[in-house]
């Protein structure tokens, strides 16, 4: 009974939060609702007994949304409402409804036809974390490594883009060098 109560409570909360994220014109509301929704999703993992994934969901998405806040801070005055350009409302509503129905159908058809089989059923007596590790390093090793390489590429690109004057440290410079650096032309 508790599981059912928890499920419906968090389902309601998650959907409400993401609804606010999409509909509000206040950047701070949107970001906060997004963060809250992401954290509420972790509840489903906990209900299903996947504690590890639940905790990872919290850790990863708090960090990710925090980065979004940083962008929000740079681009908007977050205490004011954003003036949105309103397009054709009917097209927006129609397309989003269609997309939502499509997603539901895509996920519901295999369930209805009972085509889903657990390829790697949970092993008795093995902890949650170990199970994730087992699947990750056997069945899904290649996608895992490819994801790692993609992240490495993104990191290198980020460093190259943002890394101008990386060899200079304001912390380690003495005052004369700091003055010189200030007087240099910004070009070059």
């Amino acid at each position: 009974m508790f599981e059912a109560i928890a499920f419906y409570l968090f389902a309601f909360l998650t959907i409400t939060m993401f609804f606010i994220t999409v509909t509000t014109s206040q950047a701070l509301y949107a970001l906060t609702a997004l963060a809250a929704g992401m954290i509420f999703i972790s509840a489903f993992f906990f209900i299903l007994g996947a504690d590890f994934l639940g905790a990872v969901q919290i850790i990863v998405y708090t960090g990710a949304v925090m980065a979004l806040y940083a962008f929000g801070m740079m681009f908007f005055d977050t205490t004011r409402e954003v003036k949105e350009k309103q397009g054709n409302k009917y097209i927006i509503i129609g397309l989003s409804t269609l997309a939502a129905i499509l997603v539901v159908v895509i996920f519901a058809t295999p369930m209805v036809s009972e085509n889903i089989v657990a390829l790697y059923p949970a092993i008795e007596g093995v902890g949650n974390t170990q199970e994730v590790g087992l699947v990750l390093f056997t069945k899904y090793l290649v996608p895992f490594e490819v994801a790692a390489i993609m992240l490495l590429v993104a990191m290198v690109a980020g460093i190259v883009l943002a890394g101008k004057k990386m060899d200079l440290s304001i912390t380690l410079m003495n005052d004369e060098d700091l003055e010189k650096e200030k007087n240099k032309k910004v070009l070059s």
Partner: protein, 329 residues
């Protein structure tokens, strides 16, 4: 789920809430006294014997003060922000074993609300959510100092989360579990079994990261009084401001529990001496927070970032690699 378990859990939650909100209040008293003695002052002296009732006076003041919501703030977020800090601090406590289990009237009590098998991850994650309080408070109040403080919160959060996660990875590899109770059992053999002897670097890195995540003095730049007034707290008044404080001090206490549990043997073999030993360790780590505040200057934001990305993070990664190699061969 039987009723006894439910009642037991509710009692545990209420006890932890009461004890640690009271401790958070008394923590401010300790802080003022310790700082005062280190700076050759007396600290609070007039209210009650040795100023002990100062806590009560402050509490009455905070509770009865008018709760001002300034005009240009985003009111809803502004109101929620302090609650997030306080609530997440106490949520993190759910996975901390405060004592070894003991028996009262033939009933065995486990002084941990939920023995998750991913305890450490949960605690670190939820404590990290606590930094949303300063961030939201800073961004919602229409105040430039508060906004600066919010920006610094985001920077500190994103960087020191990495350090605390990576530094704790090496002990996790040794123990092979994420539950704090397993950590305790791994070190139950006595002082020579403590993880600090095999992972001294991880211990120091995690300790430094703890200072950053609780926003204590060497890294106090989130609410640095001498340059950005009170940062995110500038626009707050009354109990909402007080909630930020309760959250901060509760976090300090909880992280002081987590550090000994991971690195310093926790409550040892579970006897009464082990439990008292854990309390002693917690007291030391809490005192160390105050000591540092009295003895160290604050670092600049750029120094903080430099320290994190160019010193602590590479060290943590090297530590993980070396631990892995040693365990493999």
């Amino acid at each position: 789920m039987d009723t006894a378990y439910l009642i037991e859990t509710i009692i545990k939650v209420v006890v932890i809430l009461l004890i640690f909100s009271a401790l958070a209040g008394i923590g401010t008293y300790f802080e003022r006294k310790v700082l005062a003695f280190m700076q050759r002052r007396l600290g609070p002296m007039y209210v009650g014997p040795y100023g002990l009732l100062q806590v009560a006076a402050d509490g009455v003041k905070l509770f009865t003060k008018e709760d001002i919501i300034p005009t240009n703030v985003v009111a809803l977020i502004f109101k929620i922000a302090p609650v997030i800090t306080a609530a997440t601090a106490f949520m993190a406590a759910a996975a901390i074993p405060f004592f070894p289990e003991f028996t009262v009237f033939g009933y065995t009590v486990h002084p941990i609300v939920a023995d998750l098998n991913i305890g450490i991850l949960y605690i670190l994650g939820v404590m990290a959510v606590g930094l949303y309080g300063p961030l939201l408070g800073g961004m919602a109040s229409a105040n430039k100092f508060a906004l600066l403080s919010a920006a610094r919160t985001a920077a500190v959060f994103i960087s020191y989360e990495v350090v605390s996660g990576l530094s704790i990875l090496a002990p996790i590899m040794m123990v092979g579990s994420l539950s704090l109770i397993d950590f305790n059992e791994y070190q139950a053999g006595g002082i020579s079994d403590w993880i600090i002897w095999s992972q001294p670097l991880a211990f120091i890195l995690f300790w430094i990261a703890a200072f950053a995540e609780t926003g204590r003095t060497p890294f106090h730049l989130i609410a640095n009084d001498h340059e950005i007034i009170d940062g995110f707290g500038t626009e707050y008044s009354g109990m909402r401001w007080g909630l930020f404080f309760i959250g901060e001090y509760a976090n300090m206490f909880f992280i002081s529990f987590v550090i000994p549990l991971i690195f310093l043997g926790g409550f040892g073999d579970g006897t009464i001496f082990g439990a008292l030993g854990l309390l002693g360790k917690v007291a030391f780590f809490f005192f160390f927070f105050l000591w540092t505040r009295a003895a160290w200057p604050d670092v600049r934001p750029d120094q903080l970032m430099w320290l994190c990305w160019k010193v602590l993070m590479p060290l943590a990664v090297i530590n993980v690699v070396i631990t892995g190699l040693v365990m493999m061969f």
